[in-house]
Amino acid sequence: MSFNIMFLRKTVNVRNTLNRLPFNLNTNSILKYSINSSNHYDVVIAGGGMVGTTLACTLGKNTKFSDRRILLLESGKKFKWQLKEQYSNRVSALNPSTYNLLDRVGAWKHITDVRYGSVKRMQVWDALSDAMITFNHDELSEMVAYIVENDVLLAAVGKELEQLQNVTTINEAKIKEYQLPKKHEDTSTINMEDGTTYTCNVLLGCDGANSLVRKTMGVHYVSWNYNQKGIVATVKLSEDTENVVAWQRFLPTGPVALLPLTNKLSSLVWSTTTEHAKTLLGLSEEQFVDALNEAIWKTHQQNSMVTEAMKTFNKCLDFIQLPSSAVRQLPPSISGVEPGSRAAFPLGFGHASNYITKGVALVGDAAHRVHPLAGQGVNLGFGDVNTLDRILGEAIYSGSSLGSLNYLKQYESERQQHNVPTMLAIDGLHKLYNTEFTPVVILRSLGLQFTHALNPLKKAIIQHAAQ
């Protein structure tokens, strides 16, 4: 034999010992059974919120998944959407990258058919100083954000999802427990309360901030409560305006934000202390409107040191010919609140130090939860969807199993590289603005003003947020 493998030094005879070796290769009969059975899916998505539903639709439309089977399990009832005249109080500010995703899966046209608000400009300012920053859309090539009701988004994505042959949706699904793949296994098992069992090659946990998938994975989860609540409501503007500005004012108790819905209506997200939130929910509508106008308009007593520092700083900016706060626009005043639209949600921070283990990945709020002050929450989740769609598609196109760590790891590291800085920035902002301590107020005000003056930095910030 002219072709020899090189191993000339040591020789061993193993043939006789072979059958005594504990091979871990025994064909797994359960596995064989399940792969054949109709209860085996390539992908199981646990949780059909905005992120899970969009993920199911995106994967379902990916040509690499055309001959695969996807199962979406949602504990809620089948979502029947009907257009109501009154706007829902749960809305999301969608960034350009989320818009692109929804457009790509065909859902955006349904949103256009219904309604949405557009944000062409964002103004953020500090109640304890005059510091302000604006983001205009002409500083960017595109819209800053779109304001879409969560229900409208879910219905739009659902409409596309219904048409997909490769996705099965089960509502009112009661998941009892997950069995994740052990060392020599390739599939996860999902046991339902009713005794049904599903298996899958990859389990995608989109089950929100209290994710059972995450708990089963046992990954480290860093979380804290802000001891704050987010008050949401749909509010009426005193005057008809071209309502295209998103307003956010940092108050010592937390940020208050108005997101444009129509020329007459805006959506309110008001983060404040738990006690204050309770008071606000107890107020009559008129009293609430007064409190809100005060939050947007009231001049807080400015510390003279802060005022001085700001003045000097603005002079310096003028001197080096960077814009100071000359182009300040006045926020709208509020004339009323839509009856019954007031509600409060607890706010917290959470981040899983790992988004993946073998055969499992966390997506959306299951992996990360942020303070809504920058309106990034669901956008981070849609970013996850985009990346996971691309990477799982690559895995299939490379003949790899969907649960392969080599691909899932890539998802984790790409997303953490984006999510972690964003989340730390948001948390940092929250902490920065949650104080009246003068030196901090001065520094943050100068910082905001300076960032405003520096166009490239502003662009960098908004580009990161848009991704």
Binding site: F7, K10, R15
Partner: protein, 281 residues
């Protein structure tokens, strides 16, 4: 330079080779009666057999290498027009293609190539590895397009000349004694216009330092004698040999292994590991 060698090379490939070696040693000598059982070797062998398909086990560098070598083969075959246009971008781009994988081991590269639709034959001279490969493939009932066979390339070529659209020899060339004869047999198995894909180790001071001096002598994580630097082969030699058998090289890429993240990346520097795609006239 030394640190670069370690960084680029990492301890894993040599380790994996050493185990691969032991299996090859073991099986090659099964036909000879005058051998003794080395129990330490056997222990390694047991460990290895259970972890061959563990993505994070001993073979992890081979698993993660798939992220480069599958696209190398798939896109290589697309670019030379071997893949029919209508199959490009589908889930089965390699359908209708006959592929031979020489030195398929436990099937880490064979299975994904089969999942992409090819009719693939995996050959290896280790009966244990072929057995493992068969058993693993049997777990997936949809994998009906793999044919594993215990034989050497020079036996295989006798009945399979000009049969394949592609021959893949990944991480084997550095272990064969007569590379010319090996490559000649591989090329003979190819149809005209067929593609040969090779990944192997270069013959440079750097690969000697990283793969042998460091791995086997300084850090001692590979038994001495695992790799024989004399068998490493420089890309221009591989290319020249292939040229002799009427194969034109299209692409040579360097590969870089990061053992901290267990990931491979393409680099232009071919001084340690490289991948090559050549097409038969």
């Amino acid at each position: 330079m030394l640190t670069k060698a370690i960084r680029n090379y990492g301890p894993h490939p040599p380790k994996k080779f050493s185990h691969l070696m032991k299996i090859l040693i073991a099986s090659h000598t099964t036909s000879s009666s005058s051998t003794t059982v080395d129990h330490t070797e056997l222990k390694h062998f047991k460990d290895l057999s259970s972890s061959w398909w563990d993505e994070m086990g001993r073979m992890k560098a081979l698993h993660s290498m798939n992220k480069l070598r599958i696209p190398l083969v798939r896109d290589g075959l697309i670019n030379v027009g071997t893949v029919k246009k209508e199959f490009v971008g589908t889930t089965k781009p390699l359908q209708d293609l006959q592929i031979l994988e020489v030195g398929c081991g436990g099937g880490i590269l064979t299975e994904p190539l089969a999942k992409l639709g090819s009719k693939i034959t995996g050959i290896d001279v280790s009966s244990e590895l072929i057995e493992q490969a068969k058993q693993h493939a049997a777990q997936n009932l949809s994998l009906t397009n793999i044919n594993y066979s215990l034989e050497s390339i020079d036996d295989h070529v006798k009945r399979n000349a000009e049969k394949y659209d592609a021959v893949v020899a990944s991480e084997v060339l550095e272990h064969v004694t007569d590379q010319k004869v090996f490559l000649e047999a591989c090329v003979k198995c190819l149809k005209p216009k067929g593609s040969i894909f090779i990944t192997t180790i270069n013959k440079t001071t750097l690969s000697w330092l990283g793969g042998i001096v460091f791995a086997e002598y300084v850090l001692n994580f590979v038994p001495r004698g695992t790799h024989d630097w004399n068998k490493f082969i420089a890309p221009h030699i591989t290319q020249r040999v292939l040229e002799d058998y009427k194969c034109r090289t299209r692409i040579i890429h360097g590969l870089c292994y990061n053992f901290l993240t267990n990931s491979w990346s393409w680099i232009s520097d071919t001084s340690i590991n490289y991948a090559l795609h050549a097409v038969k006239d």
